[in-house]
């Protein structure tokens, strides 16, 4: 409770002590579109607007939010698939913000990505042996025992039949294609994998297989994940810490149990209350906090707190002078309770959103004890 300045959430205790990835005030503004030859240039689209977090070795950070909140862009900016327009990204203590693609190449071994649509990110004309082996070729590495052997080892590890080495992507089901993507990301033994909606396109039963695989690989290789998803249940399951994003900014970031059982930001409240749980008795007693209105445009965000236009608390609970404050002064994300940083002038703990009863739900066992 001592921290008062606009510090981001402190790095969660990591196994090595020093954070693997430190992201400080990262911005990604896309230039506004010019309308025609004579048109005026529009406002820049602030897809990511000052995002800070850090991530320890072997840790999983969940990044949640609705479409257009900037979570995918954040993932891409952090993994340097796109250039951030502001802020710094430090990987293993080294500033990598402004490295060119060429300078990034050695770092690519350490930092990989998995995408949502496994099919569109696989070249249909390449056999999956080639696809999974591509990182070796790009990095000019000859693994022990030859590329083919290494690739088949990877295939076996992610649950693919190594005999399918020469098959093409279209011969595989959605879940298997995601395994291909994972095997490729894994080839060079990275330390961090940014997973962008890796299980969203999969059926529930297959999704569970892939989630389990990701967890197994994490404990086996000490991987860190940034897990970008809109499914709050999956994120709760897999993450150590969770950041909730809205309109390019982090609204709340804390460890997962606190986020789900004692969230402080009104947006987190609305998000959690909206997810239906597969239990009719619980559902019947849960309160739904419905948001009204549409997501504002990221090229023209509201003044003050970016959430105030849709904030149920702003609408129903605050006094006029408090509202005035929300409209005019932008909150900074700061630690409101130990380890829980919130972007809100009037945060408030709510613990009744998930099971409809106040108080903590049964404590979760520590992950991967």
């Amino acid at each position: 409770m001592t921290s008062t300045a606009s510090q981001p959430a402190p790095a969660a205790t990591t196994r090595t002590g020093e954070p693997l990835l430190e992201v400080q005030g990262v911005e990604k503004y896309f230039p506004g579109r010019r309308t025609g030859l004579l048109g005026q240039k529009g406002n820049p689209v602030k897809a990511v607007d000052g995002v800070s977090f850090s991530l320890g070795t072997g840790e999983t950070l969940g990044l949640v939010g609705e479409s257009g909140c900037g979570k995918s862009t954040t993932g891409r900016a952090v993994s340097k698939l796109i250039e951030p327009t502001g802020g710094t990204v430090r990987f293993e203590g080294r500033d990598v913000t402004n490295l060119s693609p060429r300078q990034m190449r050695p770092l690519r071994r350490e930092l990989q990505m998995i995408f949502q649509d496994p099919y569109s990110s696989l070249n249909p004309r390449h056999t999956i042996g080639t696809v999974i082996g591509a990182p070796f070729a790009i990095q000019g590495e000859r693994p022990k025992g030859g590329t083919k052997r290494a690739v088949q080892g990877l295939m076996e590890r992610v649950g693919l039949n190594p005999e399918h080495y020469n098959r093409y992507p279209h011969e595989f089901s959605g879940g298997q294609r995601q395994r291909i993507g994972i095997a490729r990301a894994l080839a060079l033994r990275p330390k961090l994998i940014v997973c962008d909606e890796p299980v969203s396109a999969l059926d529930v039963s297959v999704q569970a297989q892939v989630v389990n695989l990701l967890e197994d690989l994490q404990s086996e290789f000490g991987l860190a994940y940034i897990f970008i998803a809109h499914d709050l249940s999956v994120v709760r399951h897999i993450s150590d810490r969770v950041a909730v994003m809205y309109l390019g900014k982090i609204m709340e970031i804390t460890d997962r149990d606190t986020l789900y059982e004692a969230p402080m930001h009104p947006y987190t409240h609305a998000l959690l209350s909206a997810v239906p749980v597969p239990d009719p008795t619980t559902e019947a007693r849960r309160e739904k906090i419905l948001l009204t209105g549409d997501l504002p445009s990221p090229s023209n965000p509201p003044s003050g707190c970016v959430f105030h236009t849709r904030c149920p608390k702003y609408k129903n609970e605050l006094s006029e002078s408090e509202r005035e404050h929300c409209r005019t002064v932008e909150p900074v994300i700061e630690e409101k309770r130990p380890g829980q940083s919130v972007y809100c002038h009037f945060p408030q703990v709510r613990s009744d959103l998930i099971d409809g009863e106040p108080g903590p739900i049964r404590t979760t066992k520590p992950k991967a004890a």
Partner: protein, 362 residues
């Protein structure tokens, strides 16, 4: 807009009402070069007015094909539809395309998964909705416009009159789905089918849309079918549920019964695969091994047997040789909707497995 009222569905009782929709032994088969695809193979259920039925299943389970069959959308295609679909005692299966056309949009209407691709990009929202009204009502365009604007207001589109002439791309995802709902409801259908109505939407928008469907159900007293892969949506919205796998119903019952006492190994698999936000569960998920069955070479015996962990609990090799019937369970509490399951495992044993092996892992 904070809604604290408990789900109205939970307190409704349909005991006195006659079924409004009866689907009886519905089969939808598609001949292809590779063989006959049995997308839906012997599906039966009943639905009363004011009731919401959830059809749950993964891709390829036949849930969307069922919805399209009820609306007669397979007419004019290669598909072979047999069985009976009784809507208010009228069988829809033998109707011609032209007869079915009068039913569509008027008595039965449908909401689709992706509102952007389901709306025509070249016509205004208002034009497309009023078209649905004009086709079934002899009114002037002006009256249709008025009616459309009322409908847009009802589904919660602000400044409805002003947005009448907007094109779909000028609407947000949630607003588009509201417009689709307005289109589906403008003729006050007695049966509304929603095919994954919220899958393409964000969770806060999903909550709004589900709320809207429930409100409109209450107002019109329509029967509603919601097709979804999300058991959470079912628990939140539905009165009864049909679990589909490989084109068949493997378990069905009142929502309270089915969630309290699921008895089919596939339903256990679905529940075990789902990460839970609302309760402590053991760290690892319990996925269903393998992948969904081919609908051309449907497994012999029980359609779920290649992926079932419990087929060794059945004497002999019945799971592999004998197709199980959909039989009532002993755990039905609901007066009207029986809880039924398609499984060879003896009922006592099933309940024992649920208690000792399944429950602790959920």
């Amino acid at each position: 807009m904070v809604d604290t009222s408990p789900s109205a569905a939970a307190v409704r009782d349909f005991a006195d009402e006659q079924p409004f929709l009866v689907v009886d032994d519905l089969r939808v088969h598609f001949p292809t070069d590779d063989g006959l695809v049995k997308s839906v193979d012997g599906l039966s259920f009943e639905l009363r007015r004011g009731e919401i039925l959830g059809i749950v299943g993964e891709s390829g389970s036949g849930k969307s094909v069922t919805a399209q069959a009820i609306l007669g959308l397979h007419k004019g295609s290669q598909a072979k539809v047999t069985g009976r679909i009784l809507l208010d005692d009228q069988d829809l299966v033998p109707l011609s395309e032209n007869e079915m056309r009068r039913v569509r949009g008027d008595e039965v209407s449908m909401i689709f998964q992706d509102p952007l691709s389901s709306l025509h990009p070249f016509y205004t929202i208002g034009n497309q909705i009023s078209e649905a009204y004009l086709v079934h009502h002899k009114v002037s365009k002006k009256e249709a416009r008025q009616r459309t604007i009322e409908m847009l207001q009802k589904v919660g589109i602000p400044n409805a009159a002003g947005r009448y002439d907007d094109y779909p791309h000028q609407f947000s995802g949630g607003m588009r789905q509201r417009a689709m709902i307005a289109m589906a409801l403008i003729c006050q259908p007695k049966l509304l089918i929603a095919d994954e109505p919220t899958t393409a939407l964000d969770v806060t928008v999903q909550a709004q849309i589900l709320e809207l469907i429930k409100e409109l159900r209450d107002e019109l007293n329509s029967a509603v079918i919601i097709i979804t892969h999300d058991l959470g949506v079912v628990a939140e919205t539905c009165d009864q549920v049909v679990v589909m796998y490989g084109g068949q119903c493997v378990e069905k019952g009142a929502v309270d019964d089915l969630f309290a006492q699921p008895e089919m190994p596939y339903t256990w698999g679905l529940l075990g695969s789902m990460p839970r936000m609302d309760r402590v569960r053991q760290e690892r998920l319990t996925p269903i091994p393998g992948s969904p069955p081919s609908l051309i070479n449907v497994p012999k015996g029980c359609v779920f047997n290649p992926r079932c962990r419990f087929s060794d609990r059945v004497e002999g090799r019945r799971c592999f040789t004998e197709h199980p019937d959909l039989l009532p369970t002993t755990s039905t509490t609901h007066e009207v909707t029986r809880h039924e399951v398609r499984c060879h495992i003896p009922p006592e044993e099933r309940q024992q497995i649920l208690l000792t092996e399944i429950r602790p892992t959920l």
